[in-house]
């Protein structure tokens, strides 16, 4: 990867990190209600994988999906406005943090029932094949989803139908609050299951945006050429707890320290330095990201709340919610 592309990816990761920090601060100040599942620490997976995809490829994400929405073209302003229940939110304030969706960019949703979206990605890949578009579908999911029935049904169907779909597991070591290793029969919860379905299962450093970009790129090319589905298990770590209510006190201090030192932004900075990019250039990218998020926070704060009548729209395709004549 050349310096220009890496710098672009770095800036996008910085934008995700800053947005997540803003979401955290807004929650703490009472402007975001409900809960948030922040993806700070996971940036390299969303950004690296997205860089390997076409703009018209389909992406499905989980309730920890801010980074995927941002990586696929949602703006910090529309994401933060959604979290703050504003009319200008990505889903017009009807989705919230767990359901960020940008359909115009084929980011087809964030789903809060663990593992439910994996068969949907299979269906999108099936549809792409039927329509002959050459599009790919990608499902991002957590390690916890690998013990859900739908995971196995999706893998089997994708494999027997040889569909262009990639399953990208963000293994952050914890299934909500419980170490995934304590509740899973194999060491690599996603990749180790791949041979059972006769498909490739690659393990990658999920904090290294270059490695993610290359691994996903190679498997995407294979899938587009008719080679069928594959699993990527990207090892990573979340900086925050599972959700806002969770201080993550169950994690050993030395483990947290070790992973924080293996930060995706620091790793990318190191690579940029190796490629001869000057520190001021990287700092300038950081500042652009910071300014963009600051502006987004202000704009979202100033946006109006949704019209209460919106509650009774959008159940049906005609825009309404009437269930009777």
């Amino acid at each position: 990867m050349d310096a220009t592309e890496l710098l672009t990816l770095y800036e996008r990761m910085a934008l995700v990190r800053r947005t997540e920090k803003a979401a955290h601060d807004l929650f703490m100040s009472g402007l975001v209600k409900g809960t948030t599942h922040l993806a700070a620490g996971h940036e390299a997976i969303a950004v690296g994988a997205s860089a390997a995809l076409r703009d018209d490829d389909y992406v499905f994400a989980t309730y920890r999906g801010h980074h995927h929405a941002l990586a696929r073209g949602a703006t910090p302003e529309e994401c933060l406005a959604e979290l703050m229940s504003r009319a200008t939110g990505l889903c017009r304030a009807k989705g919230g943090s767990m359901h960020l969706t940008k359909a115009s960019r084929n980011m087809l949703g964030s789903y809060a029932i663990v593992g439910a979206h994996l068969p949907m990605a299979v269906g999108a890949a099936w549809s792409a094949r039927l329509r002959g578009t050459g599009q790919l579908a990608v499902a991002f999911f957590g390690d916890g989803a690998t013990n859900i029935g739908a995971f196995h049904e999706a893998l089997n169907l994708a494999a027997v139908w040889k569909l262009p779909v990639l399953f990208v597991c963000e293994n952050n070591l914890y299934m909500e609050y419980t170490p995934i290793a304590d509740v899973t029969a194999v060491a690599r919860p996603a990749a180790d299951r791949a041979p059972a379905y006769g498909i490739p299962g690659e393990v990658v450093d999920g904090n290294d945006v270059v490695a993610v970009r290359e691994t996903v790129g190679a498997l995407a090319e294979r899938a587009r050429a008719g080679g069928g589905p594959a699993i990527v298990e990207a090892e990573t770590y979340r900086h925050f707890g599972h959700s806002r209510a969770d201080p993550a006190a169950y994690r050993p201090a030395e483990e947290v320290e070790r992973w924080l030192k293996h930060d995706p932004l620091d790793l990318a900075r190191g690579r940029l330095a190796e490629l001869g990019v000057e520190e001021e250039t990287v700092t300038a990218a950081d500042e652009r990201a910071r300014d963009a998020v600051q502006k987004a926070v202000e704009a979202a704060k100033n946006a109006p709340p949704p019209d209460p009548r919106e509650a009774l729209t959008d159940v049906w395709a005609d825009g309404g919610a009437a269930w009777r004549t």
């Binding site: 949907m120 549809s127 049906w316 395709a317 825009g319 009777r324």
Partner: protein
């Protein structure tokens, strides 16, 4: 086309008509291809449309309905078969949490035009896990449309409406009606969802029924006629949209209401119908409403036991007789 068509043939014919019309319509499900479906409701589809449009799946209900959802979100109009309606429980997350909510929770960004077809109901002695009338499960979920046709012509017309619908439709094909016969409808026959049919006109009492209970209600009406009681029979045909206007209009004529449901009394669709009537049509009533419904037990195996549980003509006649005398 033949002079008469069976209900089961009408299912395949209804799907085929839409597949001919729209290349985006594709089918998936267990044993639907070469085998023609366990109930022979997809006979001929594989032969006419080929394996790129008729897909046999593994026994994976979550993958079937989840994949149908993903395909529907991306330009296709999938028709997914869940073999027995009891098995809807195996993919209930998709029916309850994913398919009906995605449009709403994305602020209208995503639409899911799919049909989930399934064989519903009892009467054939399949035992407790293959005999339930489950349309009420779907009725509890905002965001699903629910079709349950009674006649072959309605099967074809409502299949057209369901497949053309931009909203998700759960399409209940009643197992007890599969062998029944009727006139085939003309080309491009469409029965809009949410339009009940008055299948027998009457002046004394309104019987509101659905699917297999429509013939039961009609038979009851014929017997009641012998006693001088003139029953009107309304076939709801779809539960969502619910044609409450048709029920209220019938009630304005008859002033007496009986719902005839196969599903258990608890939480049955009849409760919704009578609650609307109590809310908005109380002045139309000259007698209490009656709900004839399934007993609140799992469906037993033996015929003699099943008959104790599912409404029969005799039970309907007895209830209406009491009401007419009120």
């Amino acid at each position: 086309m033949a002079d008469v068509i069976t209900y089961r043939e009408a299912v395949a014919e209804g799907i085929a008509r839409e597949m001919r019309r729209d290349p985006a319509v594709v089918c998936l499900g267990e044993d639907i291809g070469e085998a023609g479906g366990v109930f022979k409701t997809t006979v001929g589809l594989l032969k006419e449309f080929g394996p790129e449009r008729v897909w046999d799946t593994p026994i994976s209900e979550q993958a079937i309905v989840g994949a149908a959802m993903g395909a529907a979100m991306t330009g296709m109009r999938p028709v997914a078969e869940i073999m027995f309606s009891d098995f809807l429980a195996c993919c209930w997350d998709y029916l309850a949490n994913e398919i009906p909510k995605v449009r709403y929770m994305t602020g209208g960004q995503v639409t899911v035009p799919l049909v989930v077809r399934t064989a519903n109901g009892g009467g054939l002695g399949f035992g407790a896990q293959h005999s339930q009338a489950t349309e009420n499960w779907a009725l509890t979920v905002p965001g699903l449309k629910i079709a349950a046709p009674t006649t072959p012509a309605d099967v074809i017309g409502m299949m057209a409406a369901a497949i053309r619908s931009d909203d998700p439709v759960v399409f209940f094909e009643h197992k007890g009606l599969l062998a029944s016969k009727g006139a085939p409808p003309p080309p491009d026959h469409v029965v809009e969802l949410g339009r009940a049919a008055v299948v027998r006109e009457g002046a004394d009492v309104t019987l509101v029924a659905l699917a297999s209970m429509v013939p039961v209600a009609l038979e009851a009406a014929a017997r009641l006629a012998e006693e001088g009681i003139d029953a009107e029979v309304v076939d709801l045909r779809s539960l969502i949209p619910l044609d409450t206007a048709a029920v209220l209009a019938s009630l304005a004529k008859t002033s007496r209401l009986v719902t005839v449901e196969e599903n258990p009394y608890q939480g049955g669709w009849g409760a919704t119908v009578v609650s609307v009537v109590a809310d908005e049509g109380f002045d139309l009533l000259d007698a209490p409403v009656r709900r004839i419904a399934g007993e609140c037990v799992p469906l037993p195996f033996a015929d003699v036991l099943e008959e104790q549980v599912i409404p029969t003509t005799q039970k309907v006649v007895a209830a209406v007789r009491g009401l007419a005398a009120y």
